[in-house]
Point group: C2
């Protein structure tokens, strides 16, 4: 864990992570446990088993539940100082095909969650938003850009961000929003319709041909999950402050450059085909994060090629039970 520097001045907090057994959430739980916080995790925990946190057994509280279920969510929030929202059943590709699901489930459950936070006396909500879809086509974009999301997934994430302003105005709830770039790293699902690095690695493991959507102009800001998790602990320094922060390196990597890095990192031959960008994808997503990095001067993003290598090594060591 590289969590020590950012968390060095943070007093121990009572924190619950919704979706903490998922991909980004589990890295956050790693970081929070390492930082000495009192951590609870709300997730499905089917058959009372964790998917991604077995290595932390006994070091966090398991709160099994369904995120749409009001009473379960309320019970999980009782007595918490801060609550992280890292839970989703969707992604940009699913949202593109089913806008109603984004409204009826993603947005509605988020608003119910914020509402219950105010009712239970939670001091601060931390919302893991999406940098790639919230801004829409602009590139690169900092927090002063006018967001023009056009994917239902991003539209409803932005609306959820705005609902945090509502609960702050109405109830005094503090909230931080992290607009995170294209996150990757160990534990990312291999068979989802997003997360190009995980999907490619899964295909390579299975001997399938990679599908490369886009070209030199298809730029993404890849963020290692461990780095995103460390930055998100910034919210625990001051439970009364609120802010919206990009989380990205500010560097665009084209999908073809990523392919080159795969050739350098992956010790297994693979085939690929290059196809046009999908309509659900932004042409470009680069997220300058000077606002947050200025507040975390000790933080450094880890090297992309090196973290790709660690992701691949982790995947090989854990396949096929990892998905």
């Amino acid at each position: 864990m590289s969590s020590a520097p950012t968390q060095s001045h943070i007093p121990p907090r009572k924190v619950v992570v919704f979706g903490g057994d998922g991909f980004i959430g589990s890295h956050l739980v790693d970081t929070l446990v390492a930082g000495g916080h009192d951590v609870s995790v709300f997730a499905r925990f089917r058959n009372n088993a964790s998917k991604n946190l077995t290595h932390l057994a006994g070091r966090f509280r398991m709160l099994p539940g369904d995120f749409s279920h009001r009473d379960s969510v309320a019970a999980a929030l009782e007595g918490q100082e801060a609550a992280y929202h890292c839970i989703t059943a969707s992604n940009p590709v699913l949202g593109w095909d089913n806008p109603y699901g984004e409204i009826d489930h993603e947005l509605r459950n988020a608003v119910q969650f914020f509402d219950l936070c105010t009712q239970q006396g939670v001091r601060k909500v931390v919302y893991a938003s999406s940098g790639g879809t919230v801004y829409g086509p602009g590139c690169p974009v900092d927090e002063n850009a006018v967001p023009r999301p056009y994917n239902p997934y991003g539209i409803c994430r932005l609306a959820a961000e705005h609902f945090l302003d509502y609960f702050r105005a109405r109830n005094g709830l503090a909230a931080d929003v992290y607009r995170i770039g294209n996150v990757f790293g160990p534990r990312q699902p291999l068979h989802a319709s997003q997360g190009v690095i995980a999907v490619w690695m899964g295909h390579i493991l299975e001997g399938k041909t990679l599908q490369v959507f886009g070209d030199e102009t298809t730029l993404r800001d890849y963020v290692y999950a461990e780095d995103a998790a460390e930055l998100m602990t910034f919210s625990l320094r001051d439970l009364a402050s609120s802010g919206t922060y990009n989380v990205g390196s500010g560097q665009g990597t084209s999908i073809l450059r990523l392919l080159d890095m795969f050739r350098a990192v992956v010790d297994k031959p693979f085939d690929y085909t290059i196809q046009p960008r999908r309509p659900s994808d932004n042409p470009c997503a680069i997220l300058p994060s000077g606002k947050l990095l200025g507040l975390c001067p000790e933080f450094r993003f880890q090297d992309l090629q090196e973290t790709l290598r660690r992701t691949w090594e982790h995947l090989k060591a854990n396949a096929p039970t990892n998905d």
Copy 2:
């Protein structure tokens, strides 16, 4: 009607106005009928009767229906070139107390409406959005400002605007959005929790004390409904273009200045009390509209005090059946 200049270059269109029997919608229907368009109106039309369009009987098509009812909406859209969305069951005060209603009804019905427009081959949607609540606290704000809505009513209106970008990207649906200031004029409901001019006039008619929420810093951009309607016909010039436009004079009138104008215009004595601004209200809403006015160089906003006088005269002549 002052609709001639703006509509002079518009070919006759087949147009349906959803909510065309309501306050803003009925002024739009007046303007569209005067402009020679083939106009249908979708509204509740309880007992097959119109509330606000009896003076136009026989000059438009009545399409009674419930806006949440998919099949009724789809049938009303059949064969239309353009569809205006001027329908709402909410307002900022209701939305403040019931955020879920904004998500489940206002936003969801709007998205269903846009979706059905694409399915029925409508070329262009025109969306009557809200200038006061979509932008949030910034003031004055043009279309390049970052919207920070914090009232559920405005949050879901902005999300609906973004969904129009989605349907444009996915289906090629053209759409204009009008972010309208504080509209007033004949036919505005007197007993709603918004529309300060109508509410005050209703109170004066009934001999009640006016409640003035705010002070010199509570600034609003009042727009006469007839002016807003005329500007919204701009969308019919080109059914393939899309844009987002403020509709406001760009002039802020304080709530106390409005009170002065009432003293000058209203020929009936009245009492008032001054109270703090309500939390659901923005401190200030001023909407510079250079973007739209540059495209409609022949248009002039009518004088505020004069249109207040006309609103009052209309109300006196039509009370008490007007509400």
